[in-house]
Symmetry: C2
Subunit: 195 residues, 2 copies
């Protein structure tokens, strides 16, 4: 069944980008260390996780900032984050949707996170909707709309940067026991959020 | 050989105490969820980790705040955090050291973290020195004096509180591949910090 998944590579101190991130340095200072497991020499376990996630994802939801980075010079190039898998971009102002020459559809959604998720779910069918970016993650977590957290815990302390779990506010969310995949350094943790 | 270990129970969002911690509520709101694995029904893996740590610890270093909590009504009672294992308390003003009736020695150190660690190492002999508390952890991490991080990662999002990895500042610390112990919910992660 289709799930809504937050998928992030996070340092042990909680950052998904280092300090001073921007168009020229999308993951901030030393942020490349967070994704080395994905873009570098993958272990068998890393490759399996990456492949499974790629295959099971039917749509992406991200913020405007992540979209701008993806479309930037060091971004995803001709397609989207994952070939022709549809991308839904949360934004404040209406903007025309389009389909890239490669076939990747980009849809801009300015009427809220629920609307964006509904559209993404419709596009994903039986597959999962993947949330990208700290701000997007926080909005969906606060609204209780996330089914699963897939955390790639990277053995590094970045000392500063962009936190994914921030500004969630009072109360707490109990997670289920994670599925743990111990890889070559990175620990992959999959938590279900009970409803 | 004797090691300097930071040992914390941390929520997935990075907190070692919930919001509004104080003498009456030493771990803050919902903070008891962080230590339920230790004080509640322990799995075999949990019990083994707790026992090994207890047996291998020869001295504790903590801040004044942690000491006040420990000595408070919901603290460690007659002894210290671990029977008669010596405790070294970082503080700003000199204060007389003492030995409790139970036999636990408490030493107050006002001439800096290096001095406190030297004293703790001398007391610990071949055993390890355990650092307690967020502020103490941050000071020793910044000074590069920590050998190992033992993180008990608890499957909960607290949404706010006291972060252990905070204010570390620029640069990064690469950790070695952790030893991962997947228990009933809590994931125990032991990282060595290369020198």
């Amino acid at each position: 069944m289709s799930k809504v998944i937050l998928d992030v590579s996070m340092s042990l101190d909680g950052f998904i980008a280092g300090p001073n991130d921007g168009p020229d340095q999308s993951l901030g200072e030393n942020g490349h260390l967070l994704v080395a497991w994905f873009f570098g020499d993958q272990s068998e376990a890393d490759a399996a996780i990456a492949r499974e996630t790629g295959e099971s994802t039917g749509a992406y939801v991200m913020g405007r900032r992540m979209y701008d980075i993806g479309e930037g010079p060091n971004g995803w190039g001709d397609g989207g984050p994952n070939g022709t898998v549809p991308v839904f971009v949360l934004c404040h102002e209406p903007r025309e949707s389009f389909i890239k020459a490669s076939g990747t559809p980009f849809t801009f959604v300015s009427d809220g996170i629920v609307s964006a998720l509904d559209k993404a779910k419709a596009a994903a069918g039986d597959k999962d909707v993947l949330l990208m970016g700290a701000n997007t993650a926080q909005q969906y977590l606060k609204a209780g709309l996330v089914d699963e957290l897939l955390i790639h815990l990277v053995p590094v302390l970045l000392g500063g940067g962009l936190r994914v779990f921030d500004r969630l506010g009072p109360g707490y969310v109990q997670l289920e026991k994670p599925i743990v995949v111990d890889s070559t350094g990175v620990t992959h943790l999959r938590y279900r959020i009970p409803k």
